[in-house]
């Protein structure tokens, strides 16, 4: 029951939102979520309760972070000689 699933809010009636999860619609409670939620928003759902609104810009923020991770410290991550040694060993070190 621990799985959190993102879904898109279709409509809202008081504290109950109708949420679309990849084509399946369910009623989800909004008691717990701490941001205002509107139709069209994505929410992270957990056992029938929305625990977080996920705006698209924040999803993009995560992706930007990952790209940052890939760029970061490209030079000092490993010295060139270690890299070439690894390549010479077939790119993989045995255990």
């Amino acid at each position: 029951m621990c799985l959190g699933v993102p879904g898109r809010v279709v409509s809202i009636d008081g504290l109950v939102a109708r949420v679309d999860f990849w084509g399946v619609q369910k009623d989800i409670r909004l008691d717990v979520v701490d941001q205002s939620v509107s139709p069209g928003d994505y929410v992270l759902n957990h056992v029938g309760y929305a625990i977080r609104r996920i705006p698209a810009e924040e999803a993009e923020q995560t992706l930007a972070l990952y790209d940052e991770l890939l760029r970061a410290e490209d030079q000092d991550l490993m010295s060139a000689d270690v890299k070439s040694e690894l390549e010479a060993a077939g790119g993989r070190r045995g255990r």
Partner: protein, 382 residues
């Protein structure tokens, strides 16, 4: 709006980024200059993502990612299941999450009790149990398991004026204290934790700062898409390599330092932490959540005289004594170390809790091919 968000969702499975992250992870592990490095995640959803997307095949040699006590059904202790079974057998209607149905207590599971005629309902969530209580006149007990994320839902339901015939048997558990126990376990090899993004959505990542300070061990909060897991592991190995213990949040689309304050407020208004047993982990100080006195009227333990002694007349089946769920949840053993795995113990006939739940390590491993560590296969192929 919809298209943007759906695209973003799919982007978290982008193969090019996944390959790049995987390659960078491999470089980091090599750069560490020793192996193996062992990290633990404490979430069934992480194990599911790892198994479902075949991520273990993308992990570099020298990196061991093990699953700790992150399956809420699995860590629900035997006496807690016994309480629910005893209640159900005494004629009280018990409703619970589907994966709790087959988890055995001393002798029986709630499913066994139902087969014997007890009134046991499977519900999707606590709201459904409350709705059931509104519909019928008899008492309805919700057997509530799960971590802080699920406990918040139970709290919200209790604060939303539930009917008087509704009550809760709380087996809720709180993750941060059990990380302390695992970190202090003798012989523990764990060098860092991958923390569950959903739980941290509630608690905020700030909750891990004292842990990092005390144990000088990094904690990285990660989400559940393939890229989330890879990026989380990459940050974790980088933090281990840097030698500077810290908390890193790689799930900013859901997790902030403070977390969901409203949820925390609801959680602690309804629950108080107490020490108690987790299956396989023994005693965890402040690891269990019990209803506060204000909610005594809705506390099944206070409302009903739960007598589990009648269950003690039975001897546990011999197979149960061989079950290694405890060691598996402590990260000491793998499912394939257990002689029952895939033989006497299967999804159809689970012996231990780890084979019951869709978040249990054994169930996940068996579902995705018995042994999801594909590195040996890849090595031969390359």
């Amino acid at each position: 709006m919809q298209e943007v968000a759906v695209d973003a969702e799919l982007t978290f499975r982008d193969p090019a980024r996944a390959r790049a992250l995987s390659a960078r992870l491999e470089e980091e592990v090599h750069a560490l200059g020793r192996d193996p490095v062992t990290v633990m995640h404490v979430c069934g959803s992480h194990e599911q993502a790892i198994a479902r997307f075949g991520l273990r095949a993308a992990f570099p040699e020298g990196l061991d990612v093990i699953m700790g006590p992150g399956c809420p059904v699995c860590v629900t202790d035997v006496p807690e299941v016994d309480e629910a079974v005893a209640l159900a057998r005494s004629g009280i209607r018990v409703s619970t999450y589907g994966d709790m149905l087959r988890v055995r207590g001393t002798v029986q599971s709630l499913g066994d009790a139902r087969a014997d005629g007890a009134k046991v309902d499977v519900v999707y969530g606590v709201s459904q149990a409350v709705a059931l209580a509104r519909e019928i006149r008899e008492p309805v007990v919700f057997f509530a398991s799960g971590f802080e994320t699920t406990a918040v839902a139970t709290a919200a339901a209790l604060l939303d004026d539930p009917p008087a015939n509704f009550s809760v048997l709380s087996a809720h558990k709180y993750i941060p204290p059990v990380m302390e126990i695992v970190a202090e376990m003798p012989g523990a090899k764990v060098e860092g934790f991958l923390a569950a993004g959903h739980a941290a959505t509630i608690t905020g990542y700030g909750v891990f700062e004292p842990f990092v300070e005390r144990h000088r061990m990094p904690v990285v909060v990660a989400g559940f898409e393939p890229l989330d897991v890879l990026a989380g592991l990459l940050e974790l190995v980088r933090a281990i390599r840097s030698g500077v213990p810290k908390v890193v949040n790689t799930y900013p689309r859901c997790v902030t330092r403070e977390g969901n304050r409203r949820a925390q407020e609801l959680l602690w208004r309804v629950f108080r932490p107490i020490g108690g047993r987790w299956r396989g982990i023994a005693h965890v100080p402040n690891g269990n959540l019990r209803l506060r006195d204000d909610f005594a009227d809705f506390d099944a333990r206070r409302r009903f005289d739960i007598d589990v002694s009648s269950l003690w007349d039975y001897a546990p089946p011999k197979l149960v004594q061989k079950c290694q769920c405890g060691d598996i949840m402590a990260g000491i053993a793998s499912p394939t170390d257990c002689e029952l795995f895939g033989k006497e113990c299967t999804s159809d006939a689970p012996v231990g809790a780890c084979m019951v739940s869709s978040e249990g390590t054994c169930k996940i491993w068996l579902t995705y091919g018995g042994h999801p560590d594909l590195r040996n296969i890849r090595r031969r192929a390359s």
